[in-house]
Amino acid sequence: MLGFAIRRLLATIPVMGIVAIIVFSLLYLTPGDPAAVLAGEQATAEDIERLRITLGLDQPYLVRFGQWIGGVLQGDLGTSIFSRRPVMELIVQRLEPTVALTLASLIIAVAIAIPLGVVAAWRSGGIIDRMAMSLAVLGFSVPVFVLSYLLIALVSVKLQLLPVQGYVPIAYGIGPFARHLILPAVSLGIINAALIARITRTTMLEVLNQDYIRAARAKGLSVRRVLIRHALKNAAVPIVTVIGISFALLISGVVVTETVFNIPGLGRLTVDAILRRDYPVIQGVILVFSATYVVVNLLVDLSYGLFDPRIKY
């Protein structure tokens, strides 16, 4: 197990290496002069030149890449063009809201999707199944910001139950923290539930046709116990795999949701950086998000053994 974990961890290094190369090389691969584009339309020739030096575009590709990757390995993601502060520092400052939002919406997504998928599979073809799968298709189709605005209109504006937007750090009290987090987390959670519910249903349908399900029923177990203890555990591997993959959707969703709800997290940092053409920040955020995604999927891989004893490392 430990050996597998180490091997699997080592295997993520090339992936992260490629990510780093892609993110870094974009600056060089884009047609035209990136310095001119980033400097904006009102920039003078001097502004552009200064930016070119700041970004290191005046130096040969490999030299610059060496410097950059050396810095990244030491936790130095470069310096923001706009605020002139280290990108790493900016990211750390914005971490809490994003982590809170991501975890909360992941929990909501799983809490909605798995029971829904299980029931839909058990009663496949029935009313609950049809409704659940229609909702799932809707989840694929409604952009998270549209759902967010609908929820704001209903819950915050009309019923005035929850704040329209904003974020309160957890240190300021769990109540206000939760009140501000509920709507964004629910919006994002519902959208992400679609994919997880669908895979849960598909996998459960397959599992429920297996001989051991019939055998478990023949032992006198209740439907609920068969579904949860016998079927769901067998369906777990594909489900956690999709949860891992859906993390990418979640990250995109976080960027949007933070904008809608004005949450000062990494997503908001990204959007501000786009508007200010602050490429080092964009680069840093992408790197951090991608690394998180890779690590999450590494953990997913490692979790397979917990669910299925046939998987040997």
Binding site: T30, V37, V137, S141
Partner: protein, 289 residues
């Protein structure tokens, strides 16, 4: 004469009827998509005015008989902007579906057939897939500048790995088939193998995957425009309209809701079409993620 006219269409009508009974999603989805296409193509004749026309008197006008979807922050007609917005979304959807499939096909065929290229390309694809597609598109657009063309290219690049993996897995499993193996060892020209065996087998999964890419591209464009990294504000797109209405959402929700509904309607149509096609072809290699 009349006999010919009445007998010929019958099989077609029957075919559609059978499709409707067995796979209603295909028909519903296609119809929804058709509505969006009509809106895009016939925008000028659908009771619209110039979507860019600023009329300060109509600022935040509520929806009614004159302004069906109301007016926006500077008094532009939200209905006209929404109808014209279909053009951007469909152009992006179609452009990305074609671009993504084309590039993905090339990469997938290369790695399926050339072993040493496979290692390199698949590692690059792994890397690309590890970058959340929105962020990749954001980075590309911030470096190249916001334009419709750049949005299409940026989203296409993010879609390439999915298609490449699909094509590659089709090729690899085909190579195991005895008849393809025989064709390869007997020296059949590569182009013939491609045309006879590979492309027919990839067509159905690519069609299904294409619809999913279309749907996700339309969503991605809207998100990019919404966060200010997409279609330039001079062109009305659903994401843009929503982004502009964002600040006044609590007093004038219609600016956000109407284009939001149009967007959801279109993507839903494409997704239903894709799910229906998936049920019909049942391709093993397609996945949504």
């Amino acid at each position: 004469m009349s006999a010919v006219a009445t007998t010929i269409p019958i099989p077609e009508v029957r075919g559609v009827l059978r499709l409707w009974r067995r796979h209603p999603n295909v028909i519903i989805g296609a119809a929804m998509l058709a509505i969006a296409v009509i809106a895009a193509v016939a925008a000028p004749w659908l009771g619209t005015v110039d979507p860019q026309m600023i009329a300060p008197f109509n600022r935040l006008e509520t929806p009614g008989a004159e302004f069906w979807f109301g007016g926006d922050l500077v008094g532009r007609d939200v209905y006209s902007r929404t109808v014209y917005g279909a053009r951007v979304s469909l152009a992006v959807g179609l452009g990305v579906a074609i671009g993504g499939i084309l590039f993905g096909l090339i990469v997938g065929l290369l790695s399926g057939f050339v072993r040493w290229v496979d290692q390199v390309l698949m590692r690059v694809m792994d890397g690309l897939m590890a970058i959340p597609s929105i962020l990749l598109a954001v980075a590309l657009i911030s470096l190249t500048g916001a334009s419709l063309q750049n949005v299409i290219i940026a989203i296409s690049i993010a879609e390439v790995p999915r298609v490449a993996r699909l094509v590659r897995s089709v090729v690899l499993s085909l190579k195991e088939q005895p008849y393809v193996e025989a064709a390869i060892t007997s020296g059949t020209p590569f182009v013939l193998i491609l045309l006879r065996h590979v492309l027919p087998n990839t067509l159905a999964p690519l069609l299904v995957q294409g619809t999913y890419i279309f749907a996700s591209a339309v969503l991605t464009e809207a998100i990019l425009s919404f966060i200010g990294a997409g279609t330039p504000p001079s062109t009305p797109s659903w994401g843009n309209i929503i982004a502009e209405g964002r600040t006044v959402f609590s007093i004038a929700p219609h600016i956000v809701l109407f284009p939001g509904l149009a967007l959801s309607f279109t993507v839903l149509g494409v997704n239903l079409l894709g799910d229906g096609l998936r049920d019909i072809f049942d391709p093993r290699y397609v996945s949504r993620t």
